[in-house]
Amino acid sequence: MSDPIFALWVYLSKTPLLWLTVTLAVYCLADWFSQATGRHPLANPVLHAVWILALLLAITGTGYKTYFDGAQFVHFLLGPATVALAIPLYEHRDKVLRVLLPMTAALLCGSLTAILSALLVAHLLGVPRAVLIALAPKSVTAAVAMGITQSLGGDPALTAVLVILTGITGGIVVTPLMNALGIGDWRARGFAAGIAAHGIGTARAFQVHPIAGTFAGIAMGLNALLTAILVPLVIRWLLP
């Protein structure tokens, strides 16, 4: 690298501006690709933005901390976006109230299934206890899941990764799975997506149908609450 270019890189690599811009640009590219494929499940914009950015960090030898100094401005908006889920909830409140009982039952059963099945499969495949703790809360939104893991003495950074991988998996699987089952009830489809795959499932649900997105948002919020209660109990019971 010639000197002026190197000097420019030294400057850019120190400001949050560079990785904030790159994050937005790469996401726009991934989202454009997703739109161009007619929102094909495999063209999930989170999946493709994440691996491209991880590759760019590896190529430029940039650490995650430096990256996050810029990307934190995007990350911060997760909180306000969660609050904003009240808006579709309010607009569709009549539809929501009518299915309060199915929602409560689906939440309890779905949430327990998500926790127990992940622990069981991973345990059978030889994953050690320390990693199992980080795995248990993987179906809820990142901030809450990391808090749960931390309170149990696990690795919150690993939880964040597993949470995002779960969300991407759910975002890819939900549409083909529900279509194969012939389920045309957007409320049920969205609610399941929110329980199994938190905000990424919710984002996917909003891409497919506004009612699905609304119910996914409710499920994500309620599951965050329930999982925060269930995971410590399950861990104490199964992995003392």
Binding site: V26, Y27, N44, A49, L53, A54, L57, A58, Y64, Y67, A71, V74, L78, G79, P80, A81, T82, V83, A84, A86, I87, P88, V99, L101, P102, A106, G110, T113, A114, A118, V121, A122, L125, G126, V127, P128, V144, D155, A157, L158, V161, I164, L165, G167, T169, G170, V173, L177, I183, G184, D185, A188, A192, A196, A197, G199, I200, F206, G221, A224
Partner: protein
């Protein structure tokens, strides 16, 4: 637009403050969601009694922008995968299998229970809600 942004941030702030002060096992933004819901109810109740609808549709418009780009907001946390490549190299396959099995299982159980109970208890008077070809 700015008052709407301030209202949304205020809801989150209030949620975080209450959760921390009371030690609740609940994310602050989720409580903030409940608070914003109540504010929207209050706004339209006031408007129904003849007052001007505060802020018009400003909160809806800001919320729509945020929710339309919800996927983007998960990208920074997702890139955190670079920090744990060692764990993934060691337990990657078992973890991926566990994630896929558990995600599919949770989807199936949740949608199954929801449909079963919705058909039994909630849908006798609303035939428009279903749409499935079963």
């Amino acid at each position: 637009m700015l008052p709407a942004v301030a209202v949304i941030l205020f809801c989150q702030l209030a949620g975080e403050a209450v959760v921390r002060a009371a030690g609740l096992p609940l994310p602050g933004p989720v409580l903030g969601m409940a608070l914003l819901f109540l504010l929207l109810v209050a706004r339209d109740q006031l408007a129904a009694r003849g007052a001007r609808r505060l802020g018009g549709n400003a909160i809806e418009n800001v919320g729509r922008v945020l929710l339309a780009n919800l996927s983007l907001l998960f990208v920074p946390a997702g890139v955190g995968v670079v920090q744990r490549l060692d764990v993934l190299a060691r337990y990657g396959l078992p973890l991926i299998v566990a994630l896929v099995v558990s995600t599919v299982a949770a989807l199936l159980v949740a949608v199954g229970v929801f449909r079963l109970l919705a058909r039994r208890f909630s849908e006798r008077m609303e035939p428009e809600a279903g749409g499935e070809g079963l």
